[in-house]
């Protein structure tokens, strides 16, 4: 498996073979520096901790953060994430060129916040009739029976906060890789707003 942290830069279209327009998301993928290698002997499981987006100034870091990077003797990074990988040592750089055209990847990110939303938008309820004297256009309908259970079942789908969830989209295709700009082009959309941090995993 290869894991990398990236930044969603935005969407556009490119011309694929045969003259078809393909929607792509431009993602700045890495370079990610290996900060720590966890082994099953020492930590109980094996993983690699990587850092993304270098921090230049010491004053922008907390003391616990500084300790991590001092121990690893690497430069400092804003975002840290563990991936279950092996075959890396501290200080290694994982770059965009670890992906190639045609790879299937999974991308995780925090989806756009939608605020407090009703049942129709949040759970795809159908709502009520729009005409014939109806006034319950977007209401959720019945939420349960009467004397039994005399309460609403736990987990009943209702209006509430929507978005800002961790969302993973699997089986996205890599359309192009540009190692000199640390950019990969992913076919289709990925979760989150522009400039948000996303995890990209392969295999």
């Amino acid at each position: 498996m290869t894991g990398i942290l990236g930044k969603k830069l935005g969407m556009t279209q490119i011309v694929a073979e045969g003259g078809k327009m393909v929607p792509v998301t431009v993602v700045e993928a890495g370079p990610c520096c290996v900060i720590q290698v966890k082994t099953s002997e020492k930590d109980g499981y094996s993983a690699v901790k990587v850092g993304f987006m270098e921090l230049k100034k010491e004053k922008n870091m907390t003391k616990p953060q500084l300790g991590i990077f001092k121990k690893a003797e690497t430069s400092s990074y804003k975002f840290l994430k563990e991936f279950p990988m092996d075959g890396f040592k501290i200080g290694d750089l994982i770059k965009a060129d670890s992906f190639s055209i045609g790879d299937f990847i999974a991308v995780s990110g925090i989806s756009k916040g939608k605020g407090f939303q009703g049942g129709m938008k949040r759970h795809n309820f159908k709502g009520g009739p729009a005409s014939h004297g109806s006034t319950r256009y977007r209401a959720p309908g019945s939420i349960g029976a009467s004397s039994y259970p005399s309460r609403v079942w736990k987990g009943m789908r209702m209006a509430g906060h929507m978005g800002c969830d961790r969302v993973t989209i699997k089986k996205l295709t890599v359309v192009d890789v540009r190692p000199e700009q640390n950019v990969i082009l992913v076919k289709g959309a990925i979760p989150g707003p522009v400039n948000s941090i996303v995890e990209i995993r392969k295999g």
Binding site: G10, V15, M21, V26, Q181
Partner: protein, 126 residues
């Protein structure tokens, strides 16, 4: 967005300058079975939409009394050639009003030669 723009730049083609109201002839690649041929389509540019590599233009012509409109991406590889035949003199960015007009009224006034020359000189000076 600069990196997104950089990605788009790589897919742009060299295209002649053409504006709304111009009459252009384009050559569209048509694939029939395993053969490929060029099909010309001539019409008035009634709209240009979008920017960068996603820009499209809309061509309108009246063919055998029936209005035909087609939308093409400006940078599409299936549009192999764009020829500007006439420069139109218009004051609108979208010429959708041509749809409800007939005959002489549906014509776009042609730009005077002096105006075209002046515009070309201005463009070359820049």
């Amino acid at each position: 967005m600069s990196l997104v723009k950089a990605v788009e730049e790589g897919f742009k083609k060299e295209i002649p300058a053409f504006n709304i109201g111009d009459t252009v002839r384009i050559h569209v690649k048509v694939i029939e079975g395993d053969k490929e041929r060029l099909q010309p389509f001539e019409g008035t540019v009634i709209a240009r939409k979008g920017s960068g590599v996603r820009e499209t233009f809309m061509l309108r012509k009246v063919s055998f009394g029936v209005g035909v409109e087609r939308i093409f991406p400006v940078h599409s590889p299936s549009v192999s050639k764009i020829e500007v035949i006439k420069h139109g003199d218009v004051r609108r960015a979208k010429l959708y009003h041509l749809r409800s007009k007939k005959g002489k009224h549906a014509k776009v006034k042609e730009k005077s030669r002096e105006a075209v020359k002046a515009a070309a000189q201005k463009a070359s000076a820049e």
